[in-house]
């Protein structure tokens, strides 16, 4: 393996993930420890990746991008179900950036996503299925934000994560 090949492999490496056990990276990682040129490039690359991930988290994806992601997830996960199978499904919308982070979608953001998802249900399983389908919102739901979220007609309930571990907190959400 030459330096250029090692760079190409290392570019796909994600520190702190399963990649650390993936043998495909082993030789390139070893080279990055011993080859000074590669080591310098690698350190710089890690800083760049960290900066990109940090900066991109601050960018709110435009609606068409969010909808394309939701449509892809819906189609990939649920579109192959029969109508009978889908009738037993409860959908939960949980933005990845809101899981366990303490950050919550605004009621408007959640309602827009739920409305789009309901449209996906209608397109794949018909309007009656869309009307009957329960779509829950998840992602740092807590007693402080639950009431505002549940005021949205599009939100049929909450998928409660960390807040369910405290009985008092969970009880307060149930009462919303």
């Amino acid at each position: 393996m030459n330096t250029q090949e090692a760079k190409e492999i290392l570019a796909a490496f994600r520190p702190g993930t399963d990649d650390e056990q993936d043998p495909i990276f082993a030789e390139a990682l070893q080279m990055a420890r011993t080859n000074s040129e590669l080591k310098a490039w690698w350190n710089d690359s890690l800083v760049f990746d960290k900066r990109m991930r940090r900066d991109l988290r601050r960018v709110i994806a435009p609606a068409p991008v969010r909808e394309a992601i939701l449509a892809g997830q819906f189609t990939g996960g649920l579109a192959k179900l029969s109508a009978e199978q889908f009738a037993r499904i409860v959908l939960a919308y949980e933005p990845v950036w809101a899981i366990g982070t303490g950050k919550t979608a605004t009621p408007g953001m959640a309602a827009a996503a739920h409305s789009f998802l309901r449209g996906q249900v209608a397109a794949h399983f018909g309007s009656p299925a869309a009307e009957e389908c329960r779509i829950l919102y998840g992602g740092s739901v807590n007693p402080g934000n639950c009431a505002a979220l549940m005021e949205e007609d599009e939100l049929d309930g909450a998928l409660v994560g960390g807040a369910s571990l405290d009985p008092n907190s969970f009880a307060a959400i149930v009462k919303c």
Binding site: E8, A12, T17, D18, D19, I24, F48, M52, L56
Partner: protein, 69 residues
């Protein structure tokens, strides 16, 4: 990222925004693993070049504003 051309944009969106592994990206885009590694690597180089060009344009403007105030 939007300024990048396909197929590099898709590879980097899945890598940075969706935080997928190269194997997952290869499955999603239905291309070989080696191709995905190449796209991530080249895509990052292009992205870095665009950001550097942007920074070099933005910096004098910011400096100019600072001088005036």
């Amino acid at each position: 990222l939007n300024a990048l051309e396909e197929p590099f944009r898709s590879a980097l969106v899945l890598f940075y925004l969706q935080e997928h592994s190269y194997r997952e990206i290869a499955e999603i885009l239905e291309v070989p693993i080696g191709t995905i590694m190449s796209r991530i690597s080249r895509g990052k180089e292009m992205l870095r070049a665009k950001l550097d060009a942007h920074d070099s344009v933005a910096a004098p403007v910011a400096a100019g504003r600072e001088t005036r105030t």
